[in-house]
Symmetry: C2
Subunit: 508 residues, 2 copies
């Protein structure tokens, strides 16, 4: 399939609408997509080239302008709304004769970037032949279709989460070219601030939620199963962020003169952090796990049905053992986790100096399981810190506080904690979607009780009355949130087919 010459692609492009309109729809969509790879890729690059750090509103409005123009060409009416934060796009494409609606969620903002860590500039989308970590290099495409499906497009938000908008519009273009009418009305809610916790989503839903009526909500975000088998997801982990700072002397001290006399805040912070978990990541904080909802038999069955890819995953990630050795990755995400995601206390390498730092700071990501509430976890965490001998402050400590308290910890609970979300795995909507997706593949669709990411789904669940199912399309190794983020091209082409199938078949 991948050795077709370009004249053949041209043939497909020109002749398909004429000769194949009545043939097998998924195969037609596949052929159309292949013939139009260059255009789809060009559109994707144009969107990815617009910087989209959530905290920079002017950039987010540029993205919103681009997207509204892009979807308007496919018959969507849209409005860009805000509630004092980044923009959200609400859009709708009414389909004559359709009686049901599907509401589709995606987000178009991305995590901050440190360009110096990237092999290619984060906002200059670049084709690479494989992951940078495996020796991937930029490649020039000679224009011949099909593109190597293993190549990736590297850019911030390539994997998380600008792909769905492009793939969805490509699906509608393909359906139009093939005279396939959607079976449902299509509503979009596109989030411009997901990566900073969608702080104004609640207000947006309060004001505009009534426009989002639908029979089903599809959440298009997150990475696929590492086996690359198509997947539906019914739950998400919750997430909270806590920053912790410990203190030593008031100012930086020469490590020779004051080592063995003045306490080292780095040492204090390390001991506090390692007291929270064991080496397998199990949480040791008293009562912390009390609210965790156990895995139901149906969920356990679904997990057992998922092909076990732990060994492959360990190979791909280049780790000798997973945490706790015997925990499957699908079970791991059903457990709470405390992850030290950042630790800053003086430089290393050429930035290292012989000083004892005045303070050390760590950023912790707490991942919540279904049932756990942020307020409860905060209470247990703070009790633990006090039990370790620390006096807690929420502001920078005064000099008097530093003089009086041997162990002092500043806690900064970041706004926007997400509770976890876990919905029914065997609802009629789930069964219908599963059957459409099964029809596209020889492999049965993987039904995942919980995906590791955290999305503002709980807000939709509270505000809207419809089943919510997550449909991820990005490759598992897309470096989401990190440097060299990318989308594997085959994932993009597959997404076009999946969206086309759902839109044409959901209420057929």
């Amino acid at each position: 399939m991948h050795k077709r010459t370009s004249w053949y692609s041209l043939f497909i492009l020109v002749c398909l609408p004429i000769f194949l309109a009545k043939a097998d729809a998924p195969a037609d969509i596949k052929a159309y997509t292949q013939a139009n790879q260059a255009q789809i890729l060009q559109d994707f690059k144009a969107l990815l080239a617009i910087p989209n750090i959530s905290a920079v509103p002017e950039d987010m409005f540029k993205n919103a302008d681009w997207i509204t123009a892009y979807i308007a060409e496919r018959g969507f009416t849209s409005e860009v709304v805000t509630a004092g934060g980044a923009p959200y796009i609400l859009a709708e494409k009414k389909v004559p004769g359709a009686s049901k609606s599907i509401l589709i969620y995606a987000h178009f903002d991305g995590q901050p970037v440190e360009p110096s860590n990237w092999a290619t500039p984060p906002f200059e989308p670049t084709l690479i032949d494989k992951p940078i970590e495996l020796g991937g290099k930029p490649v020039e495409w000679d224009g011949k279709a099909p593109l190597n499906p293993q190549w990736r497009l590297a850019a911030r938000s390539a994997g998380d989460d600008k792909g769905p908008v492009i793939a969805l519009m490509a699906a509608l273009d393909a359906m139009e070219a093939l005279n396939i009418t959607p079976s449902v009305n299509i509503k979009l809610v596109l989030d411009g601030e997901e990566e900073i916790g969608s702080p104004t989503l609640e207000a947006i839903l309060k004001e505009h939620g009534h426009k989002m009526d639908a029979e089903l909500m599809l959440f298009c975000d997150g990475p696929m199963h590492p086996s690359r088998i198509q997947q539906l997801v019914f739950g998400m982990r919750g997430s909270m962020t806590l920053e912790l700072t410990t203190y030593g002397a008031l100012s930086p001290l020469h490590s020779g003169h004051y080592g063995n006399f003045s306490p080292n805040p780095t040492d204090r912070l390390m001991r506090l952090l390692t007291s929270m978990t064991d080496t397998d990541g199990n949480i040791l904080i008293k009562g912390y796990n009390d609210q965790t909802r156990p895995i139901s038999p149906a969920e356990q069955q679904a997990i057992d049905n998922i092909p076990n890819i732990d060994a492959q995953l360990r190979h791909d990630l280049a780790i000798a053992e997973s945490l706790g050795k015997t925990v499957r990755v699908e079970e791991g995400v059903l457990k709470p986790a405390i992850i030290v995601k950042g630790f800053q206390a003086g430089g290393v390498g050429s930035q290292s100096r012989n000083i004892i730092q005045p303070e050390a700071t760590a950023s912790l990501n707490l991942r919540l399981s279904a049932g756990q509430t942020p307020a409860f976890l905060r209470e247990k965490m703070e009790a633990h810190i006090v039990e370790q001998g620390f006096v807690i402050t929420y502001d920078d400590p005064t000099i008097e506080m530093r003089r009086e308290n041997k162990l002092l910890a500043k806690l900064e609970w970041r706004p926007g904690p997400y509770p976890a979300f876990r919905s029914e795995i065997d609802s009629p909507e789930a069964i219908k979607l599963t059957s459409i997706m099964d029809s596209l593949s020889t492999e049965p669709t993987i039904l995942t009780p919980t995906l590791g990411g955290s999305l503002p789904i709980y807000l939709f669940e509270e505000a809207l009355d419809m089943p919510i199912i997550i449909l991820p399309i990005a490759n598992h190794d897309n470096n989401q949130h990190g440097r060299n983020e990318n989308l594997r091209l085959q994932n993009l082409w597959d997404a076009v087919e999946i969206y086309a199938a759902i839109l044409s078949e959901y209420d057929r």
Copy 2:
């Protein structure tokens, strides 16, 4: 004394050489210094304004040029020499009739700076009214002498170690103005790479050591005793730097998807580091302390004679307790220490992202006691790391190594370890120096067996045959190596008096 008006200063400036030449020499030097504060400060600022990061040779040569011109005006012949590294200045001022020589060491390079952490630019010397950490602010001097002696001059190397060159030349200027002839020839060895471990000093000494013959070597570096009483020091801690890197997955991972599955290198590094010491800083590594030379009765006596400033120090540093509670700061520096001086593993605050880092790195400063050898400590440290379950590598691990080894640590032993140094506290030279300094103050000179810093003294000890005594002049809270480094003005004026007294009295 500090309320004298400027006309009085002018009187001193003009009349002192005429009327007071035969009067009490230390008082005359003091008066001269006070009358000439503006000029001394201006010279000091000019030298501090030249950036002097050791690793930037062109800047170090600029410093060397400035200094050689400056000391030439005081009758020094000098040569700038290198052995493939930063420049060293060797200089000599021959004094007619003098039969002995004193060799004076200082260094003119500084530690790297992070200007964003400084309240004032590190290479724009700025007068501040008190330490920045205590609310200090830049001040404008109205030109009236004397300057407030509590003010400080803030700049990189103000405290460590550009002050001695300025104070020494001011002392010679004062002596010249007062018709006081030095009693000894003066030789200088000024180091341009001390802060990176003087990597070429051994070669410099091999080629030029014969020019450094003298009866006594004065090491002018390091901070004074926090009591501000004058001090002589007879030993220095040794120092080694080890960088340690631990590994997780090959690339940054989303902390939600992979938390509880993929190991966190930050957690591994924290557990490894906290296994090396207890919370009091005592080293737990097997055999690590076996070489440590015990404190001699004479040294213990000297320590007991030193005013105990621990309580004041805790107050100044704003710490509730010192490490190990009952250890005096003077005893602490006689013990080995392992200090985590840098820890980098992902961002905090606005730079924090929800990822599990692929690696975590810490920079360790090992402080050596007299008797400890770098090779022995390295062996014990590596055995400990292996005992903690780690496989050691000295290069970046291959992907295969990462797949095969659960715990992998990259060790980078930085070049230029300093062994410790501890010399006789009651030699004739020590007694002579002590008596000169005692004559300048109502307080007996503090005799310190070991100062916490590490200097390349052991190389001089090996290469040259003379007693070596350290004479620190910087305030203890000069933020040496850190941000907002500064020299308290009174320390600068005192240094002029001390140097003048030593040069005039040493062989009188």
